[in-house]
């Protein structure tokens, strides 16, 4: 099965969130313990299937074990949408497989390139052995 072509939603001016679906950009990302550790920065979508596949999350500064990024830079991660739960009332994204003190083990997203190894590393960190 060929890998989908991922695009940032902001780069697709002819697309918008489907009617009735929330736009989680700007929502707080919380771990399994409810502690916040980041904010949804952008959505990575597959224009062909018209689905959001990943949340591009900016990690908060000062997280344990996460190197402090350079000034005017931020540490980003990608969260597969199937690994999160959306709290539309609280405008929060819950990731039960991660916590504030363990997010440092999660692979950071440094470029808008998604090699297969990166996808595998994400799945391993989330406790899934099978590749997506």
């Amino acid at each position: 099965m060929p890998s989908p072509v991922l695009r940032r939603l902001r780069d697709l001016p002819t697309f918008e969130m489907a009617t009735g679906d929330p736009d989680p950009r700007g929502w707080t990302v919380r771990g399994g313990d409810g502690q916040a550790f980041g904010t949804v920065l952008e959505l990575l979508v597959d224009p062909e299937s018209q689905r959001v596949l990943y949340l591009n999350v900016e990690l908060a500064r000062g997280l344990p074990g996460v190197p402090t990024p350079a000034p005017h830079a931020e540490t980003q991660i990608l969260l597969p949408l199937e690994a999160v739960n959306l709290d539309t009332e609280g405008n929060s994204v819950f990731v039960t497989a991660l916590r504030r003190d363990t997010v440092s083990t999660y692979p950071t997203f440094v470029d808008f390139i998604l090699p297969t190894e990166f996808e595998d590393a994400m799945q391993r960190a989330l406790g899934n052995n099978a590749s997506a």
């Binding site: 489907a18 679906d21 929330p22 989680p24 224009p47 018209q50 689905r51 959001v52 199937e82 959306l86």
Partner: protein, 209 residues
């Protein structure tokens, strides 16, 4: 497990279409706000044209002045009004015309078909008088005034039926001439009753016992 979908954006309406719609709405609003009120038109026309009526501009003994007397059939030169002077009944009727048309154009009355018809009849009769139409007779205006008041009475003043009916009977008995002293007195008395009933009808029906 969350699921989020995206969709192609719906095409937004052209901004020019919105501008055209806004202009259209403004034009319609301006038309309704700026158009002259129907009640104003007939009220001003007789008032402006009635003004010169008391002063006669026609030369004495001119053909126009002779024709203006408009004697009804059987009328003779002896019974015609003096040349060069407007008859008092004509002047008084033209004075009452704006008030009568304003009454007929009142918001609660103007939509009535009978009132509208009588108002048109009255306007037609008095405009010919106001224009110094030599063929115009006084009688149609006098009768039309009573008919208009009767129509107004029937629309909203049931307790004034006797007065309005009597007035119309009086109007039908008038000769239309205003030459002799007796005729002038008869016309004057009739027009005084028209003015009285007109004044009464100018109040809302609920205020009249």
């Amino acid at each position: 497990m969350a699921e989020l979908r995206i969709q192609p954006k719906k095409p937004a309406p052209s901004p020019w279409l919105l501008v055209a719609l806004a202009v259209l709405v403004l034009a319609v609003a301006a038309y309704f706000y700026l158009r002259p009120e129907p009640a104003d038109e007939p009220a001003t026309t007789p008032a402006t044209t009635a003004a010169p009526a008391p002063t006669d501009t026609l030369a004495p003994n001119s053909p126009a002045a002779d024709a203006r007397a408009t004697p009804p059939p059987g009328d003779s030169l002896e019974t015609s009004p003096p040349l060069g002077s407007a008859s008092p009944a004509r002047v008084r009727l033209l004075e009452l015309a704006p008030q009568l048309t304003q009454l007929a154009d009142r918001a609660d009355l103007r939509d009535d078909a009978a009132i509208r018809e009588q108002r048109d009849n009255f306007t037609s009769a008095t405009s010919r008088l106001a224009d110094n139409d030599p063929a115009a007779s006084l009688r149609p205006g006098l009768v039309a005034a009573a008919s208009l008041l009767l129509a107004v009475q029937q629309k909203g003043y049931p307790n004034l039926e006797a007065e309005a009916s009597t007035l119309l009977q009086q109007a039908n008995q008038l000769s239309g001439r205003d030459a002799t002293t007796a005729e002038q007195a008869q016309n004057s008395a009739y027009l005084a009753q028209v003015a009285t009933l007109l004044n009464t009808l100018s109040y809302p029906a609920k205020d009249i016992l």
